[in-house]
């Protein structure tokens, strides 16, 4: 039974597109890629969030610093504005510019006239853009009046008590903050790189640790596959995978013990089977010897007696007068009985020991047997086929082999005649260089071979099939029975060829 593995399930899944895009990764790659991806995603989120926070913080700090600087400048400028000292105001802006990297700074009065400016070109000019002039209408407190990604512009009123003398305007570039932000981003990139590299190295080490034990387990499984159960799997990890290795070692140990036990039992069984087969062969040999002796006795003694009796009856008939018709008829009847008895004795003797087999070989004996069966059972169509290469025809096989083939032929044909209700029976003997195949096929009613040959039907199986099998097995061959109810039966016996010359020399 094929157990569907994950790949099979995957292929049969509802998402064929996924199958097309599937990438085969080994465990190490999966682990490393997973760690890299997790580090990348988390660190990217962290860096992005940190950058956003830092951006907000830095820009707010820059704005706050600008407001503070503008307020301080406004406080200091009050003295100069009170004194109406534009030179003092310009000196103040120049000095404050050293402390703060302002893009520009200027002091304007309430009419929008520039009293002091970091760029002397604008001294005495008037503010012309409405955006800046709107500052004059704003509440008298420091505030950010313009803010973009590049420039933070703040205004701080120059006041004395409740009186407003003018405004200090300060434009602070965000470049330093953005530069700092870029450095933070680069730092974040380096940290992310470091995290990815460290994570990948850690994942690689972890994968090596895990895979080392897995590799050892895999080698152990390979050894298990090859029935090499003597070497235990080295346990190098004291974790779940190590426990798997230990469990596998225990299983291998149990398997080894079971295997050894099984081998012992099989050995004993094989020995017992060998003994049984030896005894069976001895029994068959004894039986064949006995059949041979009986066949010889029947043929030589009873057959001679019957022949002598037959001759006596012929003599007696010839001695009877011509008018003793009744006696002569009786003699004739007895002569017929004697002839029939002689035929029966020869047939029985041949059954016990086919003299043709001994003298003429398997093919002749087999054909004679089939012919005899055909004579005795004319309602069944018999055929005998021999497929023997020309060069093999004169080479006799070992007597034991010929006998086994003949007996199997006898048993198979007899069974078919008796039980199969066959219309035709075909016996084929095919001989090749190395083996010989005997096949008996009929078109009878057939039988459930599995049921017949099961353990529960040993008696039904009869001695016939078992005997045929034993005869085949005793000579290193095998028997193949194929049948089903209504489908006839085919019995095939295959033997390795042993020539008579080899048997004699052996």
């Amino acid at each position: 039974m094929n157990i569907p593995v994950a790949d099979d399930l995957f292929r049969k899944s509802r998402w064929p597109r996924l199958e097309a895009k599937r990438v085969d990764l080994n465990f190490r790659e999966k682990l490393i890629f997973s760690v890299i991806c997790v580090h990348f995603v988390l660190m990217t989120l962290f860096v992005a969030d940190m950058q956003q926070r830092q951006r907000t913080f830095l820009l707010e700090a820059a704005a706050e610093g600008a407001l503070k600087q503008a307020s301080l400048t406004a406080d200091a400028a009050a003295f100069w504005m009170i004194a109406d000292d534009t030179a003092g105001m310009n000196a103040l802006l120049q000095s404050s510019r050293h402390n703060t990297p302002a893009r520009y700074a200027f002091i304007m009065d309430l009419r929008g006239q520039v009293l002091a400016h970091t760029n002397k070109e604008h001294l005495g000019n008037f503010i012309s853009d409405t955006e800046t002039l709107r500052v004059l209408q704003q509440p008298k407190q420091p505030h950010v009046w313009s803010f973009d990604d590049n420039l933070i512009q703040v205004a701080a009123p120059v006041t004395v008590e409740d009186a407003t003398l003018g405004w200090v305007m300060l434009g602070m570039g965000t470049a330093p903050a953005l530069e700092q932000l870029r450095k933070i981003g680069l730092d974040g990139l380096l940290y992310t790189l470091a995290a990815i590299i460290l994570g990948a190295v850690a994942a690689w080490l972890l994968a090596n640790i895990v895979l080392r034990q897995l590799g050892l387990i895999l080698q152990g499984v390979d050894r298990l596959h090859n029935n090499e159960l003597t070497r235990a799997i080295p346990v190098v990890a004291h974790d779940e995978i190590g426990r798997v290795a230990q469990a596998l070692n225990r299983a291998m140990s149990s398997l080894r013990q079971s295997g050894e036990r099984l081998r012992r039992e099989m050995l004993e069984r094989a020995r017992a089977q060998q003994r049984i087969r030896f005894l069976s062969r001895k029994l068959m040999d004894g039986s064949e010897d006995e059949r041979k002796r009986i066949g010889h006795d029947l043929h030589d003694e009873l057959g001679q007696s019957v022949t002598a009796f037959q001759f006596g009856l012929h003599s007696l008939r010839d001695l009877l007068p011509e008018n003793a018709a009744d006696a002569r008829e009786l003699c004739e009847k007895l002569i017929g009985y004697a002839e029939e008895m002689g035929d029966n004795v020869r047939r029985i003797a041949a059954n016990f020991w086919p003299a043709a087999l001994e003298h003429m070989g398997l093919m002749v004996a087999g054909r004679a047997f089939v012919r005899e069966c055909a004579e005795r059972h004319p309602h069944i169509s018999f055929s005998f086929k021999e497929e023997v290469p020309e060069e093999q025809r004169l080479r006799r096989m070992a007597p034991r082999l010929e006998l086994a083939c003949y007996r199997i032929l006898q048993e198979a044909v007899t069974n078919a005649v008796r039980h199969a209700r066959a219309g035709s029976i075909t016996a084929t003997i095919s001989r090749r260089e190395d083996d010989i195949v005997l096949r008996v096929q009929d078109d009878g009613q057939g039988f459930d071979a599995a049921a017949i040959l099961s353990q529960d039907n040993e008696e039904l199986a009869g001695i016939g099939l078992i005997g045929m099998h034993e005869r085949a097995a005793a000579l290193g061959g095998h028997l193949d029975v194929a049948s089903a109810p209504g489908a006839g039966c085919s019995i095939e016996a295959r033997f390795p060829v042993v020539l008579r010359s080899q048997a004699i020399s052996g």
């Binding site: 990764l25 080994n26 790659e29 490393i32 890629f33 890299i36 860096v47 992005a48 950058q51 009050a78 003295f79 100069w80 009170i82 004194a83 109406d84 000292d85 003092g88 893009r103 520009y104 009419r111 929008g112 604008h122 000019n125 008037f126 503010i127 012309s128 955006e131 800046t132 002039l133 973009d148 990604d149 590049n150 420039l151 512009q153 004395v160 008590e161 009186a163 434009g171 570039g173 965000t174 470049a175 953005l178 870029r182 974040g188 990139l189 790189l193 990815i196 990948a200 895999l218 499984v221 390979d222 596959h225 071979a449 599995a450 099998h469 097995a473 095998h478 193949d480 194929a482 089903a484």
Partner: protein
Amino acid sequence: MHRITFVVKQVHGPAGPCLGPGEPQPRRSLGRLLRVLLPLLALLALIACSPEGRESENLPSYRKTPAIPRGAPVYRMALPPLANVKRVYASHLPLVESINARVTGFSVRLVVPQNYTDLARRLQAGEFSLALVDPAQTTESLRYGYRVAASTGDGDSSRGLIILRNDSDIRAIRDLEGRPLSFPAAGSFTSTLLPKSFLHEWSVDLSACPMRYVGSAASALMSVYFGKTEAAGIGLMQWQQFTSEHPDISSSLKIGWVTEPFIADALIIHDGMPRGHARQVTEALLSLHEIAEGRDALQRIGLPRFTAASNDEYRPAAEFIRRNAAVFSHDPQPPLREGIP
């Protein structure tokens, strides 16, 4: 059809070990790793390196003429830096606002120079249309196109004081001889010139006294408080203001001597100011005490009222300075020049 064989065949499992030829062979992971890593790092670099900021287009713009139409003329009114200029400015701001409320066609803006030298220089240059100055500065300014329009009173409050520490060992005025003295400024009339004249009259050899001009009345008093000088010269009004603002410090100080009263401060007007505007300012000042707002403004600077005055009323001041010129010549920078009218 069932087929039964009696031959036991060797049953083979899948050929080969568990890692058979069908299994994926180990691959070179480095290339695959780089293929994944490089795009990730490029993306990360893009995230990390934000674009540089561009030049803002929202900068202020300028032009030569005012966007807000130029209004009525503004005249600057100068005050001497008697104390912290902010405080001087704040205390005199109601006065200017009251003037502006009562004049038409122009306005007055208050200016407090950072020091006496700057005040004198700018008075000499005629930068201020109006000035509220002491008698010495008044007499000096008369030479540069100014004239006296009003006086701050009868001069009773125009007294100089010599301040000592409570624990001072000075018992007699002559004990001050050789001791360091602090003054707000060399040219301050009530704070410097009157006390020096007083000391001279009491036979204190000022040439033996180290003089320290520290910029303001409060600083002169703090010098005494910290023991840097033994005594400080200061005007009566400045002392009163200091004691109200710093009662804890002033409680450690005491008045050693008080000079006789002299001429009060004067409002001087430059000749460059149109006469009509000058008249409006003078009239506004002289009538300030008649309205509540004006009285509040006068009270903030410690004056009861302004009275009408002329250049002639300040000739005694010029005489006083000429008479004590030798005494004042001990100053490193004599505040007044020869030939004061």
